[in-house]
Symmetry: C2
Subunit: 335 residues, 2 copies
Amino acid sequence: MKILQAIIRNYLETGEPVGSRTISKYTDLNLSSATIRNEMADLEEMGYILQPHTSAGRIPSDAGYRLYVDLMMAEKEREVEEMKEVLLEKEDRLDNLLKQTAKLLAVNTNYATMISAPSLYHNKLKFLQLSRVEKNQLLAVIVIEGNVIKNTILDVDEVLTDETLLKLNILLNTHLNGMAVEEINLPLITALKRQAGIHSEIISEVIDAVAEAIKADDNLEIYTSGANNIFKYPELADHQRASELINTFEEKKELTELVKETLAEENQTGIQVYIGKESPLENMDDCSIVTATYELGEGMKGTIGIIGPKRMDYDKVVDNLKNVMRQLDAVYRKD
Amino acid sequence: MKILQAIIRNYLETGEPVGSRTISKYTDLNLSSATIRNEMADLEEMGYILQPHTSAGRIPSDAGYRLYVDLMMAEKEREVEEMKEVLLEKEDRLDNLLKQTAKLLAVNTNYATMISAPSLYHNKLKFLQLSRVEKNQLLAVIVIEGNVIKNTILDVDEVLTDETLLKLNILLNTHLNGMAVEEINLPLITALKRQAGIHSEIISEVIDAVAEAIKADDNLEIYTSGANNIFKYPELADHQRASELINTFEEKKELTELVKETLAEENQTGIQVYIGKESPLENMDDCSIVTATYELGEGMKGTIGIIGPKRMDYDKVVDNLKNVMRQLDAVYRKD
DNA sequence: TGTTAGCACTCAAAAGAAGAGAGTGCTAAT
DNA sequence: ATTAGCACTCTCTTCTTTTGAGTGCTAACA
């Protein structure tokens, strides 16, 4: 077991297959290379390590990494964490805070990072207002708990009087204010439309637009950083792979899959590790992904992901993630 | 001259140094390779082509490309343009329209693209409203010509009465509505503050925030697409270069330089070509950049850039750009 | 005078050959 | 159980050879 750890540790650092002699010399096990070789043969039979070719050293298999990671996570559980503060500065806008977070993590870990904007489903509408901008254009402003602001411009067919507009505003506010985003569903909308009477057409348009505005963004707001870090790891940097990875980061569409998967699968710490093929993303067989679910205030959950080679420094990554999660929380409370 | 064109055309396609035999066989000039060789020697002396090594074919020098591009642009001037429509769909939000544009160009040209959000300096404020969201939080919504919407949340110290808020709104609207963004400068702000009387503190905060909101974004809103296209061109795809390029696209900071440069340097068509070292960007010695200045409505100017290898298909790129510019204009008018 | 055939020459890139060395598995001894 | 010793394997590096596309120059030709 110690030997497996030693092999993996060494491989994490160097990225080169590691031989029996190296282990024998650079650990405090005081075993000769021959002994190590015997053990290695066993470990290989058990499927934890493998040989790229007969006369090369060993590298960890996915199963080997898995064992190692599980072990480490268990240790972390007990460990009292103490870390130098990595600093997130206060930001008045959520998107900037998230961008900053992604970048910070990328710089500190040397891996590629992503962060999804928190889901707003459980959040309540705090403020809602329709204003006329042009004769037949309305501006709808919606503020959601956490000071997330959404706007839409609506084109309306008929010209609205000031009075009508006022009525509409009152109607909308009475019914929607304080309501959670997830509660704005079809029955509610239908009910509202009925109450609107002559203005039902407008109401219909408005509400649909509001629902749209909230949900549309919710799918896709993902910020990434440090994509070019992949070039630091030869095993990811060949054209084929690099191109695919860069594309995934640019498109971001696939990353939403990762977000969904992560949010679905709850565990105690909120941190999950996907090694190689375990990953929910395509073309990531040679990568590992560490994800964390962060929470801002009540129920605003989002996902942070760190993507690097399988031989990433899991220990450091997990520490960084935990640290950032704590800070995100702190910064948010200050706002 | 015909020979230079032939050499460049061939090199654009293949990316390989081109020899005399190739030219002699695959053009309708009906000249033997020996003749071509003589001409080539002359062209080399004039500095339009060069030899990677003695026993290789020739590749165009920057000067060669320049000559070729100038020639082509002059021809384009006269040419009646006729192109299949590349379709931009109507989008109610400007940012989505721009993202779509970038992506479309990237897919059609197979190069990396960027597009900057139009500058709003000459645009007028169309709508401005302060609302109370919490006891001591104000929401400022600003709509600018072209339906660009900005919001800021302001923390205020004292709690404002409804009446004060109303007054503030009136004051702000009377003075700022219809004003161009560039006109909101220090003297104006000072004048306003004076008029505000007891509320001068708030006014001060509000106006500063408004100015901030408008200008802050103005610097940096750049959308990119197709960064991974660079892997399609071996001369750009080695680790060093690729990493730098990808970084430039991700950071976007440097790209603002390009935008400024382009907007400053006016020419008739609005299209500019930077070859190799001519580029205003660092680390782009092996790239060419074609930029265009687009205009949405009155004075909302922005920049589109296409970045590829020096042997990019300038012809196709220019056509695509012109086409997209025309469509951007059309789509915008529809809005 | 412009064009072309012919030929010797150059040089990068591909192919082949040789050697080094890191690492292994197995056996026999401690 | 552990280890020293040894033959064996196979990649990687280095060096050499071969190949071939392309050149420049000269001499002949229209």
